[in-house]
Amino acid sequence: MKELKLTRRSFLKATGLVIAVSITPFGTKIINASERGSFDGTFKPSVWYEITPDNKVTIYFGNSEMGQGSMTALPMIVADELEAHWKYVQVKQAPADDSFKSPILGAQVTVASASVRGFYEPLRKAGAVGRAMFIKAAAETWGVPEDECFARLSTVFHRKSRKKMTYGQLVERASKLKVPENAPLKEEKDFRYIGKPMRRIDIPDKVEGKAIFGLDIQVPGMVCAVVAHPPAYNAKPVSFDEALALAIKGVKKVVKIPQGIAVLADDFYSAQKGKEALNVKWDEGSHPYMNSEYIEKYFMECLDKPGAVAKNVGDTQKALSEAKKTYEAVYYLPHVAHAMMEPINVTVHLQKDRCDIWAPTQAQTGTRMAASRVTGLPPEKIHVHTTFLGCGLGRRSQVDFIVEACEIAKHYDKPIKLIWTREDDIKYDRFRAATCQRIKAGLDGDGNVVAWHQKVVCTSILKFYNPAWIKNGVDYFCLWGIVDSPPPPVFSSTVYEFPNFYVEQYLSELPIPAAPWRSVQNAPNAFVIECFIDELAHASGKDPIEFRMNLLKNSPRARTVLETVREMSGWGKPLPKGKGRGIAQHSCFGSYVAQVAEVAVNEKTGEIKVEKVFCAVDCGPYVNPDTIVAQIEGAIILGISTALKEEVLFDKGGVKSSNFDDYKILRMSEVPEIRVEILKSKEKIGGIGEPGVTPVAPAVANAFFNATGVRIRRLPMNPKIVLEALRRK
């Protein structure tokens, strides 16, 4: 990936046809930006592409590529409507600029499975405009009516005379045309790329080891920075030996910053040795008594403390007291790490009048704002160069490491590359929020759920991400998958409808930070809801799929994915002893997913082996089905990893887990056979990066119940937890 040095000035000097699109809440505005002066100062294009006389189509990609494939999918949309030949398409990483704000999210940020679903319509329109302009340019050249011409693979043809001209040949004329209003979009049957499995443009470089991740950035004069961080939350350094660190060959400087003590050196290993030589002594921090057991007990106790009301429909208490039968269950899901393969890193060069940041970041806007706050430079002086991301999972939507690197850069006049070790990456992660929940439900005589009362205790995400978004004491990010968020609205409610519905939240006061983690809290909340729904189905003697269908009368998309996965999985067919089948469904980011897991349980060792997962997904129109299958496969594997293995351990007021030897994640031999079916759907487009992770863990837990008759209400379902549960049988 070539780094793009694109300023508005050089952009305006482009030599071909340049189409720029501004996406505002009021609609899409497309202009021909080929000529200087096309920008009136207020126009803020969100999408740019350019066709030059050599036929090349250059599409600027303003999102972050972290494996989800949108660096290929977004250009596919433009190229399809433009009717460009794919061999001419090249993609360049765009700079950080307000122009690239997501139409859905209002910032340049790659989160919430929003890239394709946000840009699908605007990019189709933008591509169609270019195609219409080339057709018009050709028709004018030949002196024939436009409707006698058509475009095919970067060439315009005249039907009668069989004349043809390439887009490259037409560029000059086309660049002088006005943007047509209402350029016709293709009909679905005419799609050339959309909906077809396309090879990803980033893969060849990734296979060659040539793709540049943040960790691979080289800037002349650069030094490497590592940081000694406190071992316990809020611990302060009592003493450290700067001279010993400086005595290590290659060490340049030792800098005390609010986050810890940074060591700068010529290379990573020297910096790391310098860090060890510092021999920092820390105080015990704010919560020296805090360990994993303490946290779990604390969360359980908080279930009985009054919280903030997030949802109150009907009269849930009354409905519960009048229900024919009531049920109650308590769930606990511990903190989970992002553990991306590329550890946290960023390179910063702070100069008097500008700051350059080479970052594997999901948040260009956030990076600029954070760097501006730390350096005192205005945001327009912060130049963010987005690299490839060695996985994101939401971790790189956070700017804590950007802030840390800028703090260090303030003390050094050359570029610094901050590298966190794997141990730093795990210990100073902002985790998937732990949650402890109690649900009470009331059923009427026919098995309908008449009341749903859910108490959610959790680590706050927004306290660290954006405290201003906490409304009336409620952190709605932690309730995604249960209730909708207030303005700016996020439609994140459970797809089930309950006539009496009460949700209360209590935010943990422990100092552990949390952040979005693939699906934000949809996955933990889906675990709680889908496991409990399964319990209710069993209690009322109904088939778990039938029971769900009955609750989803007004949600045809959720019903269809359930029906599809029922077919796929051979639901109802008998399984041998020791094996079980479980179902779960969830909807988020506008997509609907249902999964059936088949597990084998070894009751002696407590091991669960997930053997098969079937998945049906309805994400509306889709762009690259091969990427969708890859995303769902990856999400399922990640979900199984959290279901069976992952738990961050704490001790002495800090994080005990440190690396992949004590923070275990799923490996190849533990991966099940996975079958994915993408539904043909004409519904509204939904996101795909995250929804696949949500139903896995509950499907596995429900399958475990099917195999053993025992419910597990605590993750991860590792041998210790499984054996404890089986003993209670």
Binding site: D216, L638, N659, M668
Partner: protein, 154 residues
């Protein structure tokens, strides 16, 4: 001075002999395809070949490979069956772990004259891919074995 033969080129580097090979490759030779990810030999992202054997370069002190032949992802031919299979099966997502994984598979396929896919798969549990590309890795490993056998026949 430590003398290294990397991808057929000889380098002399002036570093402490306990420096892990991965950091010599990255910080001194600027070969960035070999990744640092765990530093303790748990994940495989830093895998290179040392005298033809797949090794975790994050736990090898550079002093131990003085004079030995090292091959990194950059030194594996572009038309290598594993690289081709990885593209054919569209394996990478984020791609960060893939160079190390490719080096591991290239070694496992090369070490026996007639590699058995199932045996190769059994030796893959010491790598980690957080994106969960394992199902495609499995397909690509089988494909790479097919391709390498075809190559031998010719």
């Amino acid at each position: 001075m430590i003398s290294l033969n990397v991808n057929g080129k000889v380098y002399n580097v002036d570093v402490p002999p306990d420096t892990p090979l991965v950091w010599v490759l990255r910080d001194h030779l600027k070969l960035m395809g070999t990744k640092y990810a765990c530093g303790v030999g748990e994940c495989g992202a830093c895998t290179v070949h040392v005298d033809g054997v797949a090794k975790r370069s994050c736990v090898i002190p550079v002093g131990d490979v003085h004079g030995k032949k090292i091959v990194t992802i950059e030194g594996l031919p572009k038309n290598h069956p594993v690289k081709r299979a990885w593209i054919m099966e569209q394996v990478p997502q984020c791609g960060f772990c893939q160079p190390g994984t490719i080096m591991q598979v290239a070694y496992l396929i090369a070490k026996t004259p007639n590699p058995d896919p199932e045996k190769v798969l059994k030796e893959m549990d010491d790598i980690i891919c957080r994106c969960g590309t394992y199902p495609r890795m499995k397909k690509a490993i089988k494909k790479a074995i097919e391709l390498s056998k075809k190559g031998v026949k010719k």
